[in-house]
């Protein structure tokens, strides 16, 4: 029985080879692995060993001819019964490299011996799969080392908005949030009052200098932009004679329960806002774009915009509507001290429902405040001045104050805003009316 040996692929994917010279002629006896032919491929000239032992019966290809891989080139009379292409190899060849570049095994084609080269690389860089959605009620998105950093820096990831694709919170986001905490608060800005200088990141050139926007300034900017270009603002004004309020204040501070308490006009305004919001619930509400709902709050978490040496922050007085005037005054004083000393906790700056900004402390009459994002109303309290005022047809000097109310017009109509502002005016100009609220 003659075994036919076909030209093997001696390299990686070679398709043809030239027969250079035969080492055997018909009639020669050959052994396994004896060199029988020289061939030249596109890569190199190589010698081919015989896979069979026996007597050469025929050479099919003349030297100089180029033949395709798989073309029979020699027949060897082995004297054995015909064997299939994957039949058992001679026992002595197990573990030896065969002519096909594979190691001979009893089962299978055998493993390749050639080193595997890498394929050409694709130009496009790998990109990670898109992050899961970020949103309220879902765990914040951040890599584990970023979570660790946040934990170490005391940053609550739920309060940080992620800057990476998909809202993923980065290390830089956490560091920025931590910087804000250090600086006394992650403020959502309601009023762009005078700013103290930022303490670092300065660069200067002739006649100008540059400061890197960071910390409270950056948070403030983001918040006012988000608010100003999301909520349609309407601002209305009211000038009121607060002389009765100031007289009441003078009487109260003489009483034992108000001794040692700083009872400011702001405390009266805060109380007035709480009382008046009961009659106009739209001002103590929030526009929820995501759900298409307006959220009405049963409580008042009153934000107080406070200028601090490090920037504007808006800490909250929780459940301010349940506080009597004295408690409000105490809370306002504590809040002011904390803010000034930079001790305002991040949690104290979240979840407000309505805000007062006391621009009067700067001697300013009025302005057009920008809403705290998510809230529907903000009241600016101007400075209290002695002004000519007509009382019973006569011009007299009175304590006069201007109020400015900005509302989110999606939630609050002009009628409701006007009513709310009028009620505040009534309460400040005639505090006894509070008994009717």
């Amino acid at each position: 029985m003659a075994s036919i040996f076909a030209l093997p692929d001696v390299g990686e994917g070679l398709t043809e080879a030239e027969i250079l010279s035969w080492h055997v002629t018909p009639g020669d006896t050959v052994t396994v692995n004896q060199i029988i032919v020289d061939i030249e491929t596109a890569k190199a000239a190589v010698e081919l060993p015989s896979p069979y032992a026996g007597v050469v019966s025929e050479l099919f290809v003349e030297p100089g001819a180029t033949v395709a891989v798989g073309t029979p080139i020699i027949a060897i009379e082995t004297g054995a019964e015909p064997a299939g292409a994957t039949g058992p190899a001679p026992a002595g060849a197990i573990g030896e490299e065969g002519p096909s570049g594979r190691i001979t095994t009893l089962v299978g084609y055998g493993p390749r011996t050639a080193t595997v080269a890498r394929r050409p690389r694709t130009a496009a860089p790998a990109s990670p799969p898109a992050a899961a959605a970020a949103g309220p009620g879902l765990a914040p998105l951040a890599k584990p080392p970023v979570r660790k950093l946040a934990k170490e820096l005391g940053v609550d990831l739920r309060t940080v908005s992620g800057s990476a694709a998909g809202g993923v919170i980065t290390r830089e986001d956490v560091e920025r949030a931590a910087h804000v905490v250090d600086n006394g608060g992650a403020g959502s800005a309601a009023w762009s009052g005078p700013e103290s200088g930022l303490d670092s990141g300065r660069g200067s050139s002739a006649g100008q200098h540059r400061e890197t926007v960071r910390g409270v300034r950056k948070a403030t900017a983001a918040a006012v932009v988000a608010s100003a270009f999301t909520a349609p603002h309407v601002t209305m004004f009211l000038t009121v004679d607060v002389t009765p309020m100031m007289e009441l204040r003078a009487r109260l501070v003489a009483q034992a329960q108000f001794r040692d308490i700083k009872l400011s006009p702001l405390a009266f305004a805060a109380r007035a806002v709480c009382l008046a919001s009961r009659r106009t619930p739209e001002v103590n509400a929030s526009w929820d774009e995501a759900t298409g709902e307006i959220v009405y709050f049963d409580y008042v978490h009153l934000g107080i915009a406070a200028a601090t040496p490090r920037g504007l922050v808006v800490p909250k007085i929780r459940n301010a509507d349940r506080m009597a005037l004295r408690d409000l005054a105490v809370a306002l004083d504590e809040l002011a001290v904390s803010a000034r000393e930079g001790r305002t906790a991040p949690a104290d700056m979240l979840g407000g429902t309505i805000t007062i900004t006391n621009i009067g402390v700067f001697g300013i009459d009025t302005g057009t405040p920008i809403l705290n994002p998510g809230e529907s109303a903000i009241l600016a309290l101007g400075t209290i001045r002695d002004m000519p005022w007509v009382v019973d047809g006569a011009v007299v000097a009175r304590k006069v104050c201007q109020l400015a109310l900005s509302v989110d017009h999606r939630v609050v109509d002009g009628q409701q805003g006007s009513q709310f502002l009028a009620h505040i005016g009534t309460l400040l100009s005639d505090p006894a009316q509070a008994i009717t609220f």
Binding site: Y109, T113, P128, R147
Partner: protein, 330 residues
């Protein structure tokens, strides 16, 4: 073998053969049994020459019945022998699976510690030799899941020589996986060096870009990938797990704490596998160090394909490098 000789180049197959020989010389209770292990010397010639030198009483051919091979070995172990069973191919082990899981793994426990089971079950595993069905599987997870069994996988000639002797010396049953397509890989064996203990993983290559943990036939694949990755400026830390049950993951944890990224490579399908276990444990132990999810490069969750398709199934250098790109993209 003399211990003073200069290092000799041996194949992994030869390392196993010489390791078996050394174990049989050291302990007369060591027996070798299996299909065609005697006169033929095994289809991969791992037991070549052993019957000639140690006789038909210690090296003997069994009928084609894996259940009987393991059951016989259990009985021999009860009587104080240390049988080394050869399962001819990975896909042939399942007729013996009941004996392994129900008897071999449990007798020591069932006898309240009175009957140790010093049995080694050698299984050539993995594909890449162009073989037919049942000849290219990676069943290691089945055994690693079973309490009472030790499971190890050697990946190079030196480990093959030492690990087979250590497995035979172990009083617990050891399922010993051999990377069949690496049987003919060569390495210098220096008998003067002290071998690593059996149940230890080993860092083969240091790097800082990412950690790649693997075992068995893909160790060389990963080492090749690490070499190529240098062209991209990446240094891969390569860890050969070596022991799959118990897993020795402390070096993996240490490495991931430095690199922040782990790729786990195996030929076995990924679902509920050794690589799953490594991923879970690393996620638990190294959570705050992980800059990317643990990625796995494995065979697919399909039956092992026909030989002509197997190179698309097996994890190769390019798939490892792709995973490196992916962990770096996070």
């Amino acid at each position: 073998m003399a211990g003073t000789d200069a290092p000799q180049m041996i194949t992994l197959a030869k390392g196993l053969n010489q390791g078996l020989r050394a174990a049989m010389e050291a302990d007369r209770k060591v027996l070798v049994m299996g299909e065609d292990v005697g006169r033929l010397g095994g289809v991969f010639r791992i037991t070549d020459g052993l019957q000639k030198d140690f006789g038909e009483q210690r090296v003997f051919d069994t009928p084609l019945g894996e259940s009987g091979i393991i059951g016989t070995a259990v009985g021999l172990a009860v009587r104080g022998y240390r049988p080394v069973c050869e399962i001819q191919f990975d896909g042939f082990v399942f007729p013996g699976f009941d004996q392994i899981v129900s008897q071999l793994a449990k007798l020591h426990y069932r006898s309240q510690g009175k009957l140790p089971m010093p049995v080694v079950v050698r299984i050539p595993h993995g594909g890449g030799i162009g073989a037919v069905e049942h000849h290219s599987e990676s069943p290691e997870s089945y055994f690693a899941h079973t309490p009472g069994l030790k499971v190890v996988a050697c990946a190079n000639p030196v480990d093959a020589y030492w690990m087979i002797q250590q497995a035979i010396a172990c009083d617990d049953p050891v399922i010993f996986f051999e990377p069949k397509r690496r049987y003919w890989d060569k390495a210098p064996l220096d008998l003067a060096t002290t071998p690593l203990p059996l149940f230890c993983s080993r860092v083969l290559r240091s790097g800082t870009t990412a950690t790649v943990a693997t075992y068995g036939p893909t160790v060389r694949t990963v080492l090749d990938a690490a070499t190529v990755a240098e062209q991209d400026g990446h240094t891969l830390e390569v860890i050969d797990l070596r022991t799959l049950s118990p897993l020795d993951l402390a070096p993996v944890f240490d490495s991931v704490r430095r690199t922040g990224r782990l790729i786990c490579v195996s030929e076995a399908p990924s679902e509920v596998s050794v690589t799953s276990e490594v991923a879970a444990r690393v996620s638990q132990e190294c959570f705050y160090s992980l800059a990317a999810p643990v990625l796995r490069v494995t065979g697919f969750n399909t039956p092992y394909p026909p030989a002509k398709c197997e190179e698309d199934y097996l994890p190769d250098l390019d798939r490892v490098l792709d995973a490196v790109d992916r962990v770096l993209a996070y």
